[in-house]
Point group: C2
Chain length 511, copies 2
């Protein structure tokens, strides 16, 4: 007599809810560490986070979950479950299999090595000394290679690197990414040549005017509210705080963003707030009835990034958006920015200039920074590139791709925290996000031909409604390729994105 | 062959450490709820706190702890343990016994009823309607009575109410408290008659001058720093935030206080910051080598309150302290307070006036508010007072004790959250804290006869050193009665406190 299917399902979801709730509490504790924690608490906080993570791991690998999964998946009436229920079961199974198949000794070794490698990275970067970083990086990569070998079997991917990508962008392969990135790289190369050769370079001096941090906070809040991210009403589910590097964290009714204010760089805060607001609106827009269920999650890191880039770049660097917003930020920033006019401002915030640092890159060259990293990760995990060779290959690729000379490894291969933090397979999602925005933009255009001109009136409802109905509401019901197909009608393609960039920048640079 | 004693002990402490670390993480999540959380997150936050509390309860009642306790306490070489080690074992045993002896159905029922009763209390208080509050309060008291009956056996106290007091003030009895409170009440009655009859009443108008919140924040921070509570250096282990009701929370290297700023009531923020700073310094001053051990905790709520009252009242309302501090806050508050001189200020912040609301009470009458509550709790749990009779008895006692007419139950029996929150046996610790300060003051005086005049130079090191060496460093090594005896040389006595009040106020009111 098989166990009651629906009862098992409810029990499984109950266990999943506890994991989600615990995870959301861990997020608060981590957020506090970045934003509020008194400096002396560092050691205590690491003990707290380690304990919570240990409790989380124990709960997520509990044999009772495995038994419930077996009872449900082997149940003669499994097909009675709805598509959403089946997806929930599959997502829990995927996570359970991955976590239980990795030996706990390996999980612990990776956690320890990550902490060590990040710590070494900070010092080595400050000392511009790759040799000091290399031994710890090698160990971390080796441990991740072991994990990837195991995950490859669990996830049935064709290569270990595909298994790592799958963590962040499910069912997306090295092969598929290589194809679109190659096409993107070719397109960007052509565009970049024209942009660099243009005699019509924008003047960006106006962006360096001093705006006091107190005023920047008001501007940030007003922009967030304009996009529909509520940080001040009695019904608010968000807030804006300050950290060195901006991020978004939270769950449904408590999603928080951070930014950084530099008195001489208002644009830095403005665009990071637009970016993080895009992330936050996605989290807050997930279906309320799916809260605490696996489907009540964002689809993938790439889809997440498409949401932030859409608000930061497609909308946030458009003439339409600033038609109403520029005068508003000028009113707050006064007397600063009073000499700025719309045309010059739009050209300034869209200035393209190849550079060495990813997080400072413009809308066009940002993708090239990602492509370099993707190619290197891919070759590294394919055994075609060694940890010894990373700096030289990095510098050579920067020279070839961006035309810049990297002078030391701190501004080269050691600039980002990702590899030191064990995030392999994560980088490509940044450029995938950009590519998705091209397809999404096309679909929005098709659904509502006047959406761009509506921005001119400060009206974002057209975009908001489309995103809510076509992205947010689907949560994690589909893998990203399926979601993009469903939402935009086309499979992954770089063409709309390249077309958008080419049209936008040929107009701005007048070529 | 008995298990290795020291190995069992280390394992027991390891389990205790996890509980402490988890508790400190829960404290962060609760703090965030009070200070930072976006309003929409209320429901999610209650799920997070309920889950963490459930995990905490499961960990703290784990049978493995019981086995380790049995192995240690029954070990033939138990006496090899040091006094500190034995105290750790006894404290863990006490907590384990209490938690495991309470049926989990009762624990759950109490948690649910607490939430319900608080919720009902808020509405009933707003509507000044005790009848609406009474049924839920009755249920909560009945559940606590059941718990007290069980705890009475575990703790071997003579009455159920003693078992409740023991939660907050270990080994302190109704009998002992009645004795000192009766003496305190008699002494205060005499003092209060003279104060009320005095023709020399202070003028408190100066305290109602408007000081912008921004300036009050600077004053609060400066006062905290003056007392040695660091909220701004790169080594800071504290911070000050804003809540409706001030509180202190945290552990060792992360202890945070809150206050509330009213533009027309600087004194409210000043004295709450002095009060909470006293709590915070105690937490931060516990022995570093006892961190994560049971002895690395404050002794009791009464001792905790003695620390806050010492800074708020004994030091914080003294002429000596303000001799240097008044000009500092005037400099920040300017042009407000510029017409204030030291004598008038000291008289104003020490004004005594019987009133209906505990949290607004002055240094003298505060104790009477507590004595009324203690007597009512005592009689309630002795079965000599019913929930029906609470409002009438409250009003009658306020008339007799404080000479005030309570006009409705919102300003009467429903004014505090404690009874609605299931905190029975907690109130007496507030006045015990005051009584302890009298004994502590005497001991400081004996150790360092010039401590008061040192305050005049803004020098608090005499007090700080005595507290560190005689209170903080002992953590929870002793029960409060033993700690007070060890630190001050005398057993619990109300005389020094009454003497202090009488001398101070006869001078201030010149009688």
């Amino acid at each position: 007599m098989p166990a009651n299917l629906h009862l098992s399902y409810r029990k499984l979801l109950e266990r999943n809810k506890s994991l989600v709730v615990l995870g959301s509490a861990e997020a608060i504790v981590s957020w506090d560490m970045e934003t509020m924690m008194p400096p002396k608490a560092v050691q205590l906080r690491s003990e707290q986070l380690a304990l919570l993570s240990q409790i989380h791991h124990k709960m997520s690998t509990a044999p009772a979950t495995g038994k419930l999964l077996d009872a449900i998946l082997g149940h003669p009436r499994y097909e009675d479950l709805t598509d959403v229920e089946k997806r929930n079961v599959q997502l829990i199974k995927k996570s359970y299999d991955e976590q239980t198949k990795l030996p706990s000794a390996l999980v612990t070794a990776m956690a320890k090595q990550r902490a060590l490698t990040v710590n070494t990275w900070k010092k080595a970067k400050a000392a511009k000394n790759y040799a000091a970083f290399k031994p710890e990086l090698s160990k971390l990569i080796e441990l991740n290679r072991q994990a990837a070998d195991i995950l490859m079997k669990v996830k049935e991917t064709s290569t270990p690197y595909d298994a790592l990508i799958d963590i962040y962008e499910p069912k997306t392969t090295t092969q598929a990414i290589t194809k679109v990135f190659d096409e993107l790289q070719r397109g960007l190369k052509k565009l970049l040549q024209k942009l660099c050769a243009s005699q019509n370079q924008p003047d960006t001096h106006m962006l360096k005017q001093e705006v006091p941090v107190e005023k920047q906070r008001l501007i940030a809040k007003a922009l967030a509210q304009t996009l529909g991210y509520d940080v001040e009403s009695p019904e608010a589910a968000g807030r804006i705080d300050e950290t060195e590097h901006p991020f978004t964290t939270g769950y449904y009714d408590d999603v928080r963003i951070t930014t950084h204010y530099y008195p001489n760089n208002l644009a830095s805060a403005v665009f990071s707030v637009l970016h993080e607001t895009g992330h936050a609106l996605y989290e807050q827009g997930l279906a309320q009835e799916w809260k605490f269920q696996p489907v009540g999650s964002p689809c993938s890191m790439g889809i997440h990034e498409s949401q932030s880039r859409l608000y930061e770049n497609i909308i946030g660097r458009s003439r339409e958006f600033w038609t109403t917003q520029l005068t508003k930020i000028q009113a707050t920033a006064a007397p600063s920015l009073s000499n700025v006019e719309l045309d010059g401002f739009i050209r300034a915030v869209n200035a393209v200039k190849p550079s060495k640092i990813r997080i400072e890159a413009d809308e066009v060259t940002y993708n090239l920074h990602i492509i370099v990293r993707f190619q290197m990760e891919r070759d590294l995990f394919a055994g075609e590139l060694s940890v010894d060779e990373l700096p030289a290959v990095w510098n050579q690729k920067y020279k070839e791709t961006l035309g810049v000379e990297v002078e030391n490894d701190a501004e080269g291969v050691m600039q980002d925290t990702h590899w030191a933090s064990g995030l392999y397979g994560y980088f490509p999602t940044y450029a995938l996000g950009n590519i998705y925005t091209g397809q999404i933009m096309g679909a929005i255009q098709k659904a509502n031909a006047t959406w761009r001109s509506e921005l001119t009136n400060g009206n974002l409802t057209g975009v908001q409604k489309w995103l809510a109905d076509n992205i947010y509401c689907h949560g994690d019901l589909y893998d990203p390729a399926d979601l993009i197909k469903k939402a935009t009608g086309t499979t992954l393609t770089v063409k709309p994105y390249l077309k958008y960039l080419t049209e936008k920048f040929s107009e701005l640079y007048a070529f």
